[in-house]
Structures are given as C-alpha cells and as structure tokens.
C-alpha cells in the first residue's frame, strides 16, 4: 500500500511546497509511489490519516504548537521541510528585535490579540524524524529524502560544510573575490547552488553539526568585516541555532 503523505505550513513563504509542485514530471512519478491526502495549497480534500507529514515554516505562536503536536500524533514520520521548519531560518532574524514594541507599532492597542514569540524550528516543539534543509529546498535533495524514506532508510544528511561541494564545483572562493560567505560552517547538500550562480553562501541550510564558529568569525574579520558585520552574517540564518548552542 502506498504511504499516505500530507503537507502542512506554518510561518514561511510556502516556497518549499512550491518546489514540490515544481517537480513537474517527477511529481507524477512521485504520485505513483505515495498517496497525497492533504496539501492545502493544491487540493481541497483533507485527511488526518497519514504516514508522512512534511511541515514547512517556523513555529512563531503558542497557538501553532497545538497544531504541530496534532500533526506529530497523526504521523509516523515528520519531516521538516525547508529552513524555516528545520532551523528557524530567516524568521529568526526577528528574534533579535524587541517583539513587543514591534507588535505595538503594528497593531496598536490590539497587539495582544496577535500573540507571537521567538521564531523557532519545529523540532523545538515536536520530535522530527528527517530534515530537508535549504531556502528553498533543493528538489533533488527532497527526492533523496523521500526515496530514502520509501526504502526504509534514514536519509543521509551531509555533516560537512558547503565548501566541499563548492570546491568540487571548482568555484572561485567568495573570499578571493572580495566577498564574504558562511559556506565553511554551513551544512552542505545544496551543491553550492548560490556560489555556482556567482554569489555567496548565505547559510540557509544552517550550521553543520560541529562548526568552528569562532575560527570562521575570525576569518570574516581577517578579510575585512567588522565584528558586528561578522555577527550579522551568522544571524541571517543561524539565529535560533546559535542561541541554542
């Protein structure tokens, strides 16, 4: 019997689910292997009977926690889909702002109606079985995780940084071009896609398991960033992870 699959979203841009829709012909092949029972973005039907739940987006409100816990209860396997769900992602930038005053400015005296707390990855609320990192997720990486789960295999996630893939792709290092990147501490698996396109690694896949953060901050400073800018580079995506370390 085909495993039943459901997609859910929390605070995020839904760009990861879009990558799933963007699988094009591979999507038809995938539909031969799984039965999608819930995917609000593309289908009206919904069922709470599913085996694998893909969850996109960060948890940013107390009220989201109950929904997450329900998903955890219903699913055998929970997969964090994309940076916001897997590491907190770009949402955690707001964790450095004074949220109360932000909310008051936005909503005035109705601020308390809109509860909101520090943005966090879903594994801060529920146990997660597998991760598809990236902002957005890489379609091949998503398929890799899905195929692994279908084969009953724990998806292999690189524990090495983006530099590995960047070197294999024979890019000119960002630092050699007078730019700054966080590839040396960021988890690989994206095939260094941003650097391949002529830019830098922004860190969207989060820190590797054992990053040498101090050494890389020293590198950033050695190559010309101020201490604040070096910290800022880490904050773009690593906010939640760094706060936890």
């Amino acid at each position: 019997m085909k495993p039943k699959v459901a997609f859910f979203d929390f605070a995020g841009c839904e760009g990861d689910q879009l990558q799933v829709a963007n699988l094009e012909e591979d999507l038809l092949a995938l539909l031969g292997q799984v039965e999608v029972v819930s995917f609000r973005e593309v289908m009206k039907e919904h069922s709470d009977n599913y085996d694998i739940a893909f969850v996109e987006g960060s948890c940013t409100r107390l009220q989201d926690e109950d929904r997450l816990k329900q998903i955890r209860k219903n699913a055998k396997i929970v997969v964090a889909l994309g940076s916001c769900a897997a590491i907190g992602g770009i949402n955690s930038l707001r964790n450095y702002k004074d949220l109360d005053s932000v909310k008051k400015t936005v909503y005035g005296d109705q601020a308390k109606l809109f509860d909101s707390y520090a943005a966090r990855p879903i594994d801060a609320v529920i146990p997660v079985d597998a991760y598809v990192y990236g902002c957005p997720i890489d379609r091949d990486d998503f398929l890799h995780v899905v195929k692994s789960l279908l084969l009953g295999k724990k998806p292999e996630t690189p524990t090495y940084p983006v530099c590995v893939e960047c070197k294999k792709n024979e890019n000119v290092c960002a630092f050699e071009r007078g730019q700054f990147c966080v590839g040396p501490v960021t988890r690989a698996g994206c095939n260094s896609c941003c650097v391949n396109e002529g830019t830098i690694c922004w860190g969207c896949r989060g820190l590797v398991d054992n990053p040498n953060e101090n050494s890389h901050k020293e590198v950033l400073i050695k190559y010309g960033l101020t201490v604040d800018d070096a910290i800022g580079k880490f904050r773009l995506y690593f906010g939640w992870q760094e706060a936890k370390r």
Binding site: D9, F10, A11, G12, C13, E14, G15, D16, Q17, L18, Q19, A21, N22, E24, E25, L27, L28, L31, V36, F39, R40, E41, V42, M43, K44, E45, H46, T60, D64, G89, I90, N91, L93, R94, K97, L99, V102, T105, V106, Y107, G108, Q110, L113, F114, S116, A119, C135, P136, V172, R177, Q179, C193, C194, N196, E197, G198, T199, D229, G232, L236
Partner: protein
Amino acid sequence: MSKEINVHHITRVEGHGNINVVINNGTVERCEWAIPEAPRFFEAMVVGRSWNELHHITSRICGICSIGHTLASLKATEAALGIKISEQDLKLRKLALHAENMQSHLLHVGFLVLPDLMAVGSVIPLASSHPAEVKTVLKLHRIANEMSNLLCGRTTHPQRLIPGGFSKIPTAKELAALRSKLMDAVPSLEAVAKLIKGLAGKLPDFKRETEFIALTDPNEYALYDGRIASSDTGSAPAREYLAYTNEYIVPHSTAKWAKHARESYMVGALARVNINYSKLSPMAKETAEMFGLAPVCHNPFMNNIAQLVETVHSVEDSIKLINELEADGLVPQPDYNKPEIKVKAGSGVGAVEVPRGILFHDYTYNDKGICTRANCVIPTNQNHGNISLDMKALVPQIIEKSKSEIELTLEMLVRAYDPCISCSTHVVKVNGN
C-alpha cells in the same frame, strides 16, 4: 432557513484565509473574509541589514513571487543608492519577470482553478482522468521554470539578480535555446486556452464596479516599470505610492487592507488588462477576444482569464526581448560579476507588477548602506478589501443556493484573486521609527 458557511483555511490558495458567512432567514447577518496567517515582521527584520542583503531577505516574503519581490527590492535599493543598470540587464530582468508571471499564472490557472471548473478537489485526479491536458500544463510550467532557472539561477528565491545587474547571465546560445522552447510552447498554450474556453461558462457571471490600479507605460505593457495608474483618477510616479495604498488595520486580520478612491480597489492581471489592454501582444489580444475579455471588465472571476491572456503575452514578449538581445549582440560579463557600487545615504521606492498585482518596496539607507526603514505594500493586501466587498455583493445574489454551492462560489471568488496570503501578512508594517 439559516446557513452558516465556515471555510477554515481555504485550500488551493497561498497562505491561510477564512471565510465566515452567516445567513439567517434570507438575510446576510455576517460576511467576513479573515486572515489568521502568522505575521512575520519582515520590515522590522531588515532594519539594520546591509543594502546587499535586502533583496535576499525580502525575497523570502513569498515563495511564489520571489522574483517579483527581489526585483522590487533591487529597484528600491538602486533608486536609494543611485545605481543605474544597463539596457541589457533591464531586458534580462524583464525576461525574469515574464518567467515568474508565466510560472505563477500557469500554476494558478492550470493547477488551482482548473479543478473547480472540472468539479474535482485537486489536480491529482485529473492526472489520471485527463493525462494529456495535465501533461500540457506541466510542460508549459516546466518551460517557465527552466526560463526562471536560466535568468535567475533558480526557480524560487533568485540568486543571479543583484544590485546593479546580474552575478551571472545566460549565454547567447542558452537564450536562443530558450526562444525555441517558447516558440514550441505556443501550440500547447493554444490547447490550454481551448480547454479553458470550453469550461469558462462555469465562471459565475458576477459584476461589481470597482477601481483598478496598475502600473502603466506609454511604450509597453507595463510590468517591470511604469507610473501608477488608477481607472478612477489618472496616474502618478511610483514614489507617490502611499497616496494610493492608504493601508489600514481590520480586526481579526493579521494583514493590513488598502483603499484609494473608493472603499476598495483591485490589482492584478485583470487590473493590468483593464488599464493597459492596448499594449498587449497580438496573440494575447486574440486570446482576450476569444473570451470576450475587454476593458473595463468588472467581473473579478475574469481575473483567471486575464492571467491566461497575460501568459500568452509573456511568451510572445519574451520571444521579442530575446530577438532584441540577439540583434544588439549579447555582451558577455565577467564570471562572478559584482557591479561596483558606491554606498550613500538615501531613500528609494521600487514598484513592479508581479503576478498578483502591483508591489511596492520602499527603503531608507544610512551612509553606511544600512537599512534604517522599510515599507512593503503587497498586492494581496490591496485586494483584501475588494475581496470582502465582492463577497458582500455576491452572497445576496446566490443566497437561495445550497450551502455547498455558496461555499464553492465564495471559494472560487477568493481563488480568482489568486491571493498570496502569506505575502500579505509577512510584511505587516512597522510605522514610525
């Protein structure tokens, strides 16, 4: 007889929206369009970040229109820092925008709207009942994605688009290959148009007069640039956008709403077609005629058709742009291109027509190029008021229908706007400081 319609988290739209209608003894007691989406405070998040990161961050406002957000962001930054881009880069950016327009419209019309017209819950059963049609839509969608890959280095959250131009551009060969794909797409597009034509009778015949707002340009069908035009009041430069958008807070909605000359206005494909009809490409006009879509059309359900018309326009205009680039001779640029940029203090507004309508990004930078203030106005925010008023006008007209029929019609109405709800809340505004 009383009916209560509660659509919690409407499906086949981007983001979370609720419809709540209470009908008691033939009168509408409540008719509410509510947005419970979690707010993300982007405008607060970008404060303190550098000019060369803003486009990367604000791209994350929305996965579906990330190219549009990136371009609006770059335009705002470039306006603030006084950066000019080359004629070639301008054309390449227009191609990138077309790619997103096609990708988004095809996804909406082909995957999200089509199931309503064919009375199914999603495109998934269509894959087996109508494999040829689904494959045709998939093929067109794939071409749009390949185009976006080629121009932006990705389909979502572009990489190649940077302040001052592009980090990497396609080769002349790659552009020529893209052109032949686009030319091959034309018959498929015609097939999709025919398919929709056969089903268009299912779109409700509903009219409510409203105001339309879109960018306009005397020389082309305005998407990348232009003046703000209203069907009610005339036009103004983009930097005066605040006079048009006038956002306000509504209870039970984490998104802000907007109004201009009337209680609400509409943006998006229909607004653009209504305002800029004469600038559509020849084939796009033919398509519009096929559906009897002519300005000024006040049926919001026709937004779906306007999207189809625009898809045709984007294909045709892209071919034209590639021809022009080829005729001018594509100038190669260095690997890992990074335009030289002098940082200075300043403010700038970027306005771009994205799939769901007119989008504004407005930034202020200090002399170190650090963002001190940001404001983004999202198409869907501008449409929320119009959706709500449409709903209020539509419900009494269909009040005798069954609950499920009312529910479906209201869902179709919301869907017709192709709302991008997460966008519209992701940028809840921080006024002042």
